[in-house]
Symmetry: C2
Subunit: 242 residues, 2 copies
Amino acid sequence: MPYSYEFERPALAVDCVVFGLRPSAQDSAALSQPSSRLVVLLIERALQPFEGRWALPGGFVRIDETLDRAAERELVEESGLSIAYLEQLYTFGELKRDPRERVVSVAYFALVNPVEHVLAAGTDAAKAEWFDVSTLPSLAFDHGKIIEVALERLRSKVRYRPIGFGLLPELFTLTQLQKMYETILDRPLDKRNFRKKIASLEFVVATEDTERGVPRRAARLFRFDQAAYDALSRQGFDLELI
Amino acid sequence: MPYSYEFERPALAVDCVVFGLRPSAQDSAALSQPSSRLVVLLIERALQPFEGRWALPGGFVRIDETLDRAAERELVEESGLSIAYLEQLYTFGELKRDPRERVVSVAYFALVNPVEHVLAAGTDAAKAEWFDVSTLPSLAFDHGKIIEVALERLRSKVRYRPIGFGLLPELFTLTQLQKMYETILDRPLDKRNFRKKIASLEFVVATEDTERGVPRRAARLFRFDQAAYDALSRQGFDLELI
DNA sequence: ACAAAAGTGTTAGAATTACACCCATGA
DNA sequence: TCATGGGTGTAATTCTAACACTTTTGT
């Protein structure tokens, strides 16, 4: 045990809050909803403690990997997902978070593309499933709290950074884009004002393509131009997106 | 070594970026500055590694204290400061941050009242000193990077949360308040527009008092009403302050 | 009386919000 | 031809930004 650190050490873990967007089954009864749902990925724990309870994907940080890498690794191991956006969220260090011993957990939040939603049965985990954020089951550890913090961060950050594109396919319609914002912000947006705003953003560019195979007029497809955004962003701009 | 955690554990530390506001010596030459300076507290390291270099106050997290408590304790131990505002900033987990061994550090950022600026010689530390953020010395570890992140957070957060009051005395003039914002944001603000804005914030309240002992017209003193802010904040408001 | 900062309104331009209909397409 | 969502503009309002002089007070 080297140098001045004679104390007992807390264990160090990462936990990931993975958000996805799922088209919601348009109940003919409850209409007037955003028609897409924000979902979060949970793992059913195969081991004690909290065996059988749902929890965030996560695990311990190895001595030779950075925190970001640990988060990525856990996501791949436990769900086989590929991640469109990953950022560190907050570090949770309460004393009794884990009933076994002191565990400090660095939480991440991640966004995944809808096409990637296929869930590989993980190695450690019993099973992985998507849950609507508004109807979560009772969670292991303080993971309910972590999801709350992640949701808050997502809702505030999506308004001034173009991260929401991570929840959409590479090519998307303006209606999909609007529904994504409506779903996350949980309020309706005005279609014309929304489109005016998007049209003013140089980094959301129209392609030549349109939707295929829809039983109605096909919508134009757009894409997010990361390079254009980075350029603007480097000149220091601020811009409320929505 | 309990349960499934057979890995070697990273050490876990906290580091604190403590900001203060210092009236700047109004050089008759270089006028037209905000006339206050943003300063950060550094400790001269008494031990290897980086002996003699300046570093952020910080230290290892004990097994029976939360992260917040560890940050508070380090601040008291190393500087004797009392803290007006403390929030977790980010967790730094690169592999070679510390040349001795793997250390993951949870960084905090803190704001202190100007009256509290008296520095007690700490127990561990050689000496503590305030440095202007624009003229920092070369720092130990990745502490330069941590301060950058903290500055960015301060600059963005001060615009929509009333944390800047933590840098002022309990009773302050509108000119002091304006200079505080000018110093942090590093740009001039229009006096009349600024006062109009502040007047619209119900949680910045005028007192009956005025400045004492100044060789000119005395300014009215204001205070920040935390309870009023919390009430508004609970009804979910958003409000750009500046 | 002078120096120094306190205090105070108006106007032009920009951004935001509210609002409803015609169009294109596939079934 | 019908159902479905795609696509479009204008006017009222609110917010933001630019701008300069008078007042108070202590020395």
